[in-house]
């Protein structure tokens, strides 16, 4: 019953391609993909940014978490085409080996990872959290990462890593008098926090 496919010319309308243009880690990137392409797949396979990992594809594990206009979101629960025109930060955009983001440095220092598969989602989540909450308690740090699954670490060292990252950030600011040097990353977008009645950029409109 070995079956080679019949060739069918043309592409079905329903899988028509769309031009998706994003700013990823500060760099304009684009590709032409079907509407159904998940942002996680778009980043990993179309843009070949494989630092973002896929653990469940139903939005529960958090491994695929990236920053969309600065706010953490599940990239497996977004269509790439939906977020065309927006900014995305992946783990690669937090920092590289020579200019690690405080959360990256802290995860190494505190043994906050083992197999490393879930780690990118924790890093992006923690980085965004610390932008808004620079000095969390241990309970708050635990709460901050409690939407991400890790099967290796038991979370204890991840909690320690979040606290350590906060300390590293403070140390760097004390030393350099400003935000992390050499690390280019977007700020978490402003939320309509103080009496705003209209959701602005934060709504991803």
């Amino acid at each position: 019953m070995s079956t080679e496919a019949r060739s069918t010319p043309g592409t079905a309308d329903s899988d028509a391609r769309h031009d998706v243009q994003l700013t990823v880690n500060g760099v304009p990137r684009g590709a032409c993909v079907p509407a159904r392409r998940l942002l996680s797949d778009f980043l990993r396979h179309d843009l070949r940014l494989t630092g973002t990992h896929v653990g469940c594809e139903h939005g529960v594990c958090g491994a695929c978490t990236v920053l969309l206009d600065g706010a953490p979101v599940r990239s497996c629960l977004l269509l790439a085409v939906t977020v065309s025109g927006h900014e995305v930060t992946t783990v690669e955009g937090l920092g590289g080996p020579d200019d690690m983001h405080p959360v990256q440095q802290a995860f190494q220092e505190c043994h906050g990872l083992q197999c490393g598969f879930c780690t990118p989602g924790f890093l992006t989540t923690a980085a965004a959290y610390l932008e808004e909450n620079p000095d969390p308690t241990e309970d708050e740090a635990r709460e901050a990462i409690s939407g991400n699954l890790c099967r290796c670490t038991g979370y204890q060292n991840i909690v320690a890593s979040v606290l350590r990252a906060a300390a590293i950030t403070r140390d760097r600011q004390a030393t350099f008098g400003h935000d992390t040097p050499g690390v280019s990353r977007p700020k978490v977008a402003g939320r309509p926090d103080e009496g705003g009645t209209t959701a602005g950029a934060g709504a991803g409109a």
């Binding site: 079905a12 309308d13 329903s14 899988d15 028509a16 769309h18 079907p34 509407a35 159904r36 998940l38 797949d41 594809e57 139903h58 939005g59 958090g62 978490t65 969309l68 706010a71 953490p72 979101v73 599940r74 497996c76 629960l77 977004l78 269509l79 085409v81 939906t82 977020v83 989540t125 409690s146 939407g147 939320r191 309509p192 926090d193 103080e194 009496g195 705003g196 009645t197 209209t198 959701a199 602005g200 934060g202 709504a203 991803g204 409109a205």
Partner: protein, 287 residues
């Protein structure tokens, strides 16, 4: 786990969206936050022919205090509602409930109106709409209708939004003076859908006696359940009220079912316990 193919439209205005929906009708799904829709698509539990993405309709991205309550546009994310100080001032129940909706990362993207339209009877916001006596504004190319909460939830994952229609906003009325609210739930893990959840509102008179005690429930029926429990505690002070009696009254009026996480009896037991807890907490805030 990849979605089936679909035709895709991303209108940039409400009019455009309604025109598209009128054209594609029943074969279409509306994509807002997508936090419930995308897993369904990826698991191929649904395969709509057409996806109408409303994420570019910025006119729907608002949280406003109006008409004695809070109006939430279809593109307001949970986080926008949760963090709105104005909304919190007039209706603290919104934030009380939203803090229990999944995890913050999901709330960054998921929309409040979308979760209502999804009509999952485990969704916290369905009970909030029911308890506040709120409504959803549903628009199509042929007109607008305002659907009260009692008529909006038709069954599990079934709302009153018909093919060709778009739920453009939800209105959550505020409670009368001297009303306190609370949202209490028991979930297996932090952030999971609750095995039972109770939104409660208790109103006191000027002397501190209970004049109204009502509760909305999630995960105990095919749609959110709204109960008036005033009879059990009417006239009592906050400290003297027999909240457990209100819980028993609630138990007598709910028929929860079993699933893999909870037996029906356990759910019914939780209805009693959580009703008492939620009402007591709400009453404490009313005082």
């Amino acid at each position: 786990m990849k979605p089936s193919p679909f035709a895709y439209t991303a209108p940039s205005s409400l009019d455009e969206a309604l025109a598209v929906l009128a054209e594609v009708g029943d074969d279409a799904k509306v994509l807002a936050g997508g936090q419930s829709l995308l897993p369904i698509l990826s698991m191929r539990l649904a395969a709509p022919a057409h996806l109408v993405d409303i994420n570019r309709i910025s006119e729907l991205a608002y949280v406003r205090v109006e008409d004695g309550g809070v109006r939430v546009g279809a593109l307001a994310r949970h986080v926008d509602v949760e963090r709105s100080t104005e909304a919190h001032t007039v209706l603290p129940l919104l934030r009380q409930a939203l803090q229990l909706v999944a995890h913050p990362v999901i709330r960054n993207r998921g929309t409040t109106v979308g979760s209502l339209a999804h009509a999952d009877p485990s969704g916290e916001m369905t009970a909030v709409l029911a308890l506040t006596g709120g409504s959803v504004e549903v628009v199509s190319s042929t007109g607008t209708r305002t659907v009260p909460a009692a008529e909006f939830f038709l069954g599990p994952l079934e709302s009153a939004v018909a093919g060709g229609e778009l739920a453009v906003s939800a209105h959550f009325p505020s409670f009368p003076e001297r009303t306190g609210t609370a949202f209490v739930e028991v979930a297996r893990r932090h952030g999971d859908y609750a095995m039972c959840g109770v939104a409660a509102a208790v109103t006191l008179d000027a002397d501190g006696a209970v004049v109204s005690a009502r509760a909305g429930y999630i995960s105990v029926g095919p749609t959110p359940v709204l109960l008036d429990l005033t009879a059990a505690v009417s006239g009592a002070s906050v400290t003297a009220a027999d909240w457990a009696a209100a819980g028993e009254l609630a138990q007598s009026q709910t028929e929860p079912e079993a699933d893999i996480h909870a037996t029906a009896d356990y759910r019914r037991h939780l209805v009693g316990v959580l009703t008492a807890r939620a009402l007591a907490e709400a009453a404490g805030r009313a005082a």
